[in-house]
Symmetry: C2
Subunit: 170 residues, 2 copies
């Protein structure tokens, strides 16, 4: 099965979390004597109420072999997780609606235009980072704290073949 | 008075907050089948305990006129504030030790190499964003919530002249 990759846009991504971009700010205003525009409150960092704290990390990603196979998904039951590209690089996003065992028909794939990041909402199935550059950095804002904040699940295959991503660059 | 700008480094910046870079991670390990390095827990997001939540915003900055005058400072008494450049751009940082009325001799100035962001700790005096590019974006992680989270103070002048920044580019 080939999964079609869509351009990332806030409406399509809404069931899975939030797009992080100047276009998705809840408010926008000038500060600092007019030298700065604040695109305010673009995305919320959800660390739940079980003693977690919000932390900032960096993921340095490298690409997967082509064609990109989607064989598993993960989710974070205790908090959200934000990914923001630090050098304007595009990246791929694969998510699924939030049942306990996502079916192949629940999968959606998106590509960021490089100015867009994403926040995966708490408990939303997503594929681990799918970077496209030889090496590129992403700022991560997620939760640190007690409890198990990672579930992983293997996806089914069709005729012993994993799902692959179908987008113009392949 | 001219304030000398130092290269940003974690030890010198420690009294004011945290440098955000792969070099300042509290831990570092491979994830995602070895395709990603996680530079883990670089900086904490402090939203205090007065009902605030952590939010992600974007600041689009433009430069100040040269020479850059440092006439005031601000601080956030209820939470930390992180700035991370989104296109590898350098920027200037001016901070002061945490008394209620920072003296001119308390001022320190730094320049990020463009791979470095900063988190200003709660209640640390800092100058508003000092961008250097014609227009550039910074990811901001700070606090939203009830209460007054902004103090501003005018700095003294010397012979009616404000402090200016002294660094090679001026």
């Amino acid at each position: 099965m080939k999964l079609k990759v869509e351009p990332l846009n806030p409406a399509a991504f809404a069931p899975f979390g939030e797009v992080i971009s100047t276009a998705t700010a809840r408010d926008e205003y000038k500060i600092n004597l007019g030298t700065t525009t604040r695109f305010h409150d673009i995305s919320r960092v959800d660390v739940g109420d079980e003693g977690g704290i919000p932390i900032i990390s960096i993921f340095r990603g490298t690409p997967r072999p082509m064609p990109i196979e989607i064989k598993m998904m993960e989710r974070h039951p205790l908090g959200s997780q934000a990914f923001v590209p630090l050098s304007g690089q595009k990246f791929l996003i694969v998510v699924a609606e939030g049942s306990d065992t996502p079916a192949l028909e629940d999968l959606r794939a998106f590509i960021s235009d490089g100015t867009q990041g994403v926040t995966y909402a708490k408990n939303v199935w997503h594929h681990p980072l799918l970077a496209l550059e030889p090496e590129s950095d992403f700022l991560i804002v997620d939760r640190s704290g007690p409890g198990n904040n990672l579930n992983e699940i293997d996806l089914p295959m069709v005729d012993d073949t994993p799902v692959t991503l179908d987008w113009p660059q392949t």
